[in-house]
């Protein structure tokens, strides 16, 4: 509530908040510069979510259908990254992505490339970092949903001439819909506002909503404008949630 109030206030000369009501902060957001950042953020979040789904679905399926005694172990392997600090995990990517990092030395050693690829401090690095960081949020709800799909349904599909691919496409995927929607929401929302990953792996060159808000609050110390950006973001997230809710309700009668 305080933040909502602040978003209508004006920035003081030294970064304080002066309680003069104005729409200025919201009007400033109409600037194409910021619109662009919103668009970029949505694109990033959307691509990250999609990639998490593409990677997470087979992984979740494999875990859900693994022999009972293997399941806890596999689950732990997915969740292990959560035991380490998010910062540490993100810094770990430095060693993999940087000019003399794992990927570059491997490819150069194999003679695939002669010059080190510039991955660190690019959008690609941010993308990789985000997918890595939020993959478990996709996998866990999917495993839970897929586990509850009776195996006999797959056998029935097989018995009715379905190939493995069409069994997944026609039976498993539609029945995983609640998990897919849940996982997508869990990945999409935090990536939309993520700032550590873009800040560290993007090296400040990759401006996203999260980094923008952080800058406004901590660097430029324009709290009112930062608050305004946050509220527009929040409104969009709520809107997106409502849309998915509506969509989730359309999945057959439960």
């Amino acid at each position: 509530m305080v933040m909502f109030g602040i978003s209508f206030a004006t920035r003081g000369i030294y970064g304080g908040v002066e309680w003069i009501f104005s729409w200025n902060n919201y009007i400033r957001l109409a600037d194409p510069l910021y619109g662009n950042i919103y668009l970029r953020s949505f694109l990033f979040a959307g691509l990250t979510t999609l990639m998490c789904l593409v990677l997470g679905f087979p992984l979740a399926y494999a875990i859900a259908r693994a022999p009972q005694r293997w399941q806890p172990l596999l689950f732990i392997l997915v969740l292990i990254p959560f035991w380490t600090n998010f910062l540490v995990r993100t810094y770990a990517w430095f060693f993999i992505l940087r000019a003399d990092g794992l990927i570059n030395s491997m490819f150069m050693g194999m003679g695939v490339i002669s010059e080190p690829l510039e991955i660190l401090y690019t959008d690609l690095a941010v993308f990789i970092g985000l997918v890595y960081g939020y993959l478990p949020f996709m996998v866990v709800p999917l495993v839970i949903v897929i586990e509850r799909i009776p195996r006999t349904l797959e056998e029935a599909a097989k018995d009715l001439y379905a190939t493995a691919w069409s069994t997944v496409w026609r039976v498993i995927l539609p029945l995983s819909k609640p998990g897919i929607i849940g996982g997508c929401v869990l990945v999409f929302i935090p990536t939309l506002g993520a700032f550590i990953t873009p800040y560290l792996l993007g090296g400040g060159r990759s401006m996203l909503l999260g980094t923008l808000i952080q800058q406004e609050f901590l660097v430029i110390r324009d709290w009112p404008f930062g608050a305004a950006i946050s509220f527009v973001l929040m409104g969009m997230v709520l809107l997106a949630l409502l849309v998915t809710r509506k969509h989730a309700e359309m999945v057959g009668p439960s």
Binding site: P150, T152, L153, E155, A156, A157, K158, D159, L160, Y161, A162, T163, S166, R170, V171, P174, L175, V251, G252, P253, S254
Partner: protein
């Protein structure tokens, strides 16, 4: 091999360390209704899954229409299965559930439409094609499962406990209907059940299975009237039994000495050595109750006390205390004269003909 719809040759299947199917050989004739009957864990469902191709045998060979199936995946077998609990696709309507198999084989839309319509009519569900499985009753779901398999016109239809989830009345209605449907489509039906009455009612032939082995194969009458073992006798219908030793055997008739204070006369086609341990089985409907010891031509007559009387509509069931904890049951049709009805606590005589006593050695 040609004349058989399905043939199993020395099939063995392990589940981990335990043997689920133990050296099973079976032949199912084209167009017959064949049931595999056994208690849970007897390996009957595994046998069905082996025929469907959902499991692979560890040893032995399975033939369908004369072709070895050992390297044929399930979707290439002329076989469809009605799963236990139906395994209907919950996100699809009745129509799409039934159409699934045809769609997967790439039939044209018009062809699918006409065949699905036809099959839904066969199972009397043509008025509900747009319902989802959860909107249907248990009996209706059962019909969808049946239609979903039958629409593919399989040479062999496999049914895993098809009526197991239905209540008694629905079960009896569906038994009749299943028979009618089988007569219409003329496929071979292979049904797995633990319900003996169902197996007897539906089947042309029954295989009784226990602990992975086939104990007996035969028509329902054969299995009911001449079971090969006490297990089969007890599993198929109610039966009264008493153990004893052969004391006198003259080629057809034998006397069996029991540990109780009586002996029994029974006919037996098999050769028995003296003092051989046997079990004598008498079906409850073969038992005649008499108020007095008069024999009336019965070879056996034992005194008993009526312990309990129950009534199921068409028959009276009498629970009888013979001696020292030996309890038998008599099943008397209501059509008999009222003089054949007895009360709890009444002393009666249990009588039966020698050829109604089955002498079993194991």
């Amino acid at each position: 091999m040609e004349e058989f719809a399905v043939g199993l040759r020395k099939v063995v299947k392990f589940h981990g360390d335990t043997i689920a199917v133990d050296d099973v050989s079976l032949d199912m004739t084209k167009g017959e209704f064949f049931s595999i009957l056994g208690p849970s864990g007897s390996g009957k469902t595994t046998t069905l899954r082996l025929i469907a191709g959902l499991d692979r045998p560890d040893q032995g060979e399975i033939f369908i229409q004369g072709r070895s199936m050992n390297h044929v995946p399930p979707h290439q077998r002329p076989v469809n299965m009605v799963f236990q609990n139906y395994a209907l696709f919950p996100h699809m309507t009745v129509y799409h559930n039934v159409a699934f198999g045809l769609q997967m084989r790439g039939h044209s839309v018009t062809e699918i439409k006409s065949q699905v319509g036809e099959t839904l009519e066969l199972v009397k569900l043509h008025e509900k094609p747009h319902r989802y499985p959860t909107q249907l009753s248990g009996g209706e779901q059962q019909r969808v499962a049946l239609a979903r398999a039958l629409v593919n016109r399989p040479a062999i239809l496999l049914l895993d406990e098809p009526l197991g989830a239905l209540d008694q009345q629905l079960r009896q209605e569906m038994q009749v209907e299943l028979k009618e449907i089988q007569a219409r489509v003329q496929s071979t039906f292979v049904c797995v059940t633990h319900h003996q009455e169902e197996a007897l009612m539906l089947s042309d032939r029954v295989a009784v299975m226990d602990r992975g082995q086939i104990l007996q194969v035969g028509t329902p009458q054969e299995i009911y009237e001449s079971p090969v073992s006490t297990f089969v006798a007890h599993f198929i219908g109610l039966s009264n039994s008493v153990v004893g030793r052969i004391s006198n055997y003259d080629g057809t008739m034998c006397t069996v000495m029991t540990p109780y204070r009586f002996s029994i006369q029974a006919t037996t086609p098999k050769d028995h050595s003296s003092a051989e341990e046997v079990t004598v089985i008498v079906r409850p409907e073969r038992v005649h109750l008499s108020p007095g010891p008069k024999h009336d031509g019965y070879d056996n007559s034992l005194p008993a006390l009526i312990n309990k009387v129950s009534f199921n509509g068409g028959e009276m069931f009498y629970k009888l205390d013979l001696q020292d904890g030996l309890v038998w049951t008599a099943r008397v049709p209501m059509a008999l004269r009222p003089s054949h009805r007895f009360q709890v606590g009444q002393h009666v005589y249990v009588q039966w003909h020698a050829d109604h006593g089955l002498v079993l050695t194991h």
